[in-house]
């Protein structure tokens, strides 16, 4: 029997540390173009001089300052979520160790706040590492290259996530109308708290854990993309349309810009369960990513 060659042999090289550190820096200090465009467009809808207009103006200035000075957009640099796709044979352990080192260094440099607290003792680890921090999601795929994406999700918006079990006496049954009502309730409840205008990642179905997880992964989509399912695409747009008529506005100050986008994914469910999981993301929608080619060099930046 002949030994089969490894499927892929992407080697991590010393540059990987610097690359991941740069990923963290970019994610913490620069918003992706699709997010900046959406915020810029939203300001035109608000009455000049209103509290909402002033809020969006400050947000715009903040985006510029953070990028120019290479400093965190928001002091809450959030949960550190890595999403990695790699071919079989790629050393995931080494990537995780390298990323942990990069996170420690980024905390020292000030791209990340000291954000990892022992839930029993209350002690801050001081370097953002510890049980469950950072978070890694590894997936194998049949592509030849590696893809690393990073999302920083602040605690203010994370606290506004919500999960509904349908049927629900206030929101409706196990259909898309029930789903829509549940999502709109989440928007109502999140007002002011989650640093709107917000972006929703939603999952219909799954169990309580996978539903939340899948809803968060919807935040990897770009704001200007379209759902491949035409029914869900319509639902995504309807939710944004309705939410922006509620008068909640940026920061909950009142106004027309409550949501910048909604992205909906679907998982199968048990016959007994019907969960709608909503991950609320603040306007400081920090995500970035890169690909690594088979020579271990950066292929491209993803957002």
């Amino acid at each position: 029997m002949t030994a089969s060659a490894p499927l892929h042999e992407i080697r991590n090289e010393p540059a990987l540390f610097a690359t991941i550190l740069e990923l963290i820096r970019r994610t913490s200090t620069q918003l992706p173009d699709d997010v900046v465009s959406a915020i810029t467009a939203a300001r035109k809808n608000e009455a000049a001089g209103s509290n909402a207009d002033v809020a969006l103006d400050v947000i715009g200035c903040n985006i510029g300052l953070a990028q120019t000075n290479s400093l965190p957009l928001c002091q809450d640099t959030g949960t550190i979520l890595f999403y990695v796709h790699a071919p079989a044979g790629y050393d995931q352990i080494e990537l995780e160790e390298t990323a942990n080192e990069a996170v420690r260094q980024a905390t020292k440099t000030g791209y990340l706040r000291q954000n990892s607290v022992d839930s029993v003792t209350g002690k801050n680890s001081g370097d953002n590492t510890g049980p469950g921090s950072p978070v890694f999601h590894f997936h194998q795929w049949r592509e030849a290259h590696v893809e690393v994406k990073l999302v920083l999700k602040g605690g203010g918006c994370e606290n506004m996530n919500a999960q509904y079990s349908l049927p629900h006496p206030d929101h409706g049954g196990r259909d898309l109308k029930g789903v829509e009502n549940a999502i709109l309730d989440a928007v109502l409840q999140a007002q002011g708290q989650g640093c709107g205008p917000g972006i929703l990642g939603v999952c219909i179905g799954g169990d309580r854990a996978t539903g939340y997880e899948h809803s968060k992964q919807q935040l990897l989509r770009k704001l200007d993309d379209h759902n491949v399912n035409p029914e869900l695409d319509t639902l995504e747009q309807d939710i944004v349309g309705t939410a922006n008529k509620l008068g909640i506005g940026p920061m909950g100050f009142g106004g027309k810009t409550t949501l910048l986008g909604t992205k909906i994914g679907v998982l199968n469910r048990l016959p007994a369960s019907f969960f709608v999981s909503v991950s609320y993301m603040c306007w400081a929608y920090r995500r970035q990513g890169f690909t690594l080619d088979t020579d271990g060099k950066i292929g491209k930046w993803l957002y």
Binding site: N51, V54, A55, V58, I59, C61, N62, L65, A66, N69, L71, P72, L73, C74, Q75, D76, T77, T109, G110, R113, Q114, N115, V117, G122, K123, N124, G126, G154, G155, G156, N159, H171, G172, E180, N181, L184, D185, L188, Q191, G192, Q193, G194, C195, T242, K245, L246, G247, I248, G249, M251, G252, F253, G254, C282, W283, A284
Partner: protein, 191 residues
């Protein structure tokens, strides 16, 4: 735009109304989850921290030491205030606060304490950590760093023209209550 400068007298604070945009100049102390729980449970303020006629900022900043060993605040937006709702009324009453800066607004207990004791809730723009850090001209001191960790410590900031909006005043007005009621009524048309 109203300039609000130290000392934050009751008269100045009582003159503020919901919707007023303010630029704050003076000393701010930060305090968030750990500090509120600590004070609520009878903890003493450390020497050097005086909240009388002062403004407390719900903020967990990014602060680093520069090459000369001085603190430098590099990001300092507000954190969500509602978590302090069980404690805030008491901190306003017992320590003589005239203002609380945060985001998202607070509830009835805090609103009542603002009315009784002459205090306002001032909303900074959430996430605007750079704009707000630029208003911090000096980090004067830090307290309880060892006990609570950097984000939860009491930082003493000297700020200049720190922009924010009054969303709960000392006359029972709350923008948060207004917007919630109106948006809830509007949503009822669609569901």
């Amino acid at each position: 735009m109203t300039k609000l400068s130290f000392p934050f007298t009751e008269e100045k604070i009582r003159s503020l109304k919901v919707g007023d945009e303010v630029l704050i100049t003076g000393t701010l102390f930060t305090g968030r989850d750990a500090v509120h729980k600590y004070l609520h449970e009878g903890g003493k303020l450390p020497a050097g921290v005086n909240l009388k006629d002062g403004i407390l900022y719900h903020c967990g900043p990014v602060v680093i030491k520069d090459e000369r060993g001085n603190w430098k605040c590099t990001a300092a937006g507000p954190t969500t205030s509602i978590r302090e709702e069980p404690y805030q009324w008491q901190v306003i009453r017992d320590f003589g606060l005239r203002g609380v800066i945060g985001k998202g607004g607070m509830g009835d207990k805090t609103l009542q304490a603002c009315k009784e004791h002459g205090c306002v809730y001032i909303h900074a723009i959430g996430g605007a950590a750079q704009v707000l850090a630029q208003c911090i001209k000096r980090v004067r001191n830090v307290h309880m760093m060892e006990q609570f960790g950097a984000p939860e410590a009491i930082w003493e900031f000297e700020v200049e023209d720190f922009p924010a909006v009054v969303t709960m005043d000392s006359h029972g007005g709350s923008l948060h209550k207004e917007v919630f009621a109106a948006s809830q009524a509007e949503l009822a048309k669609y569901v």
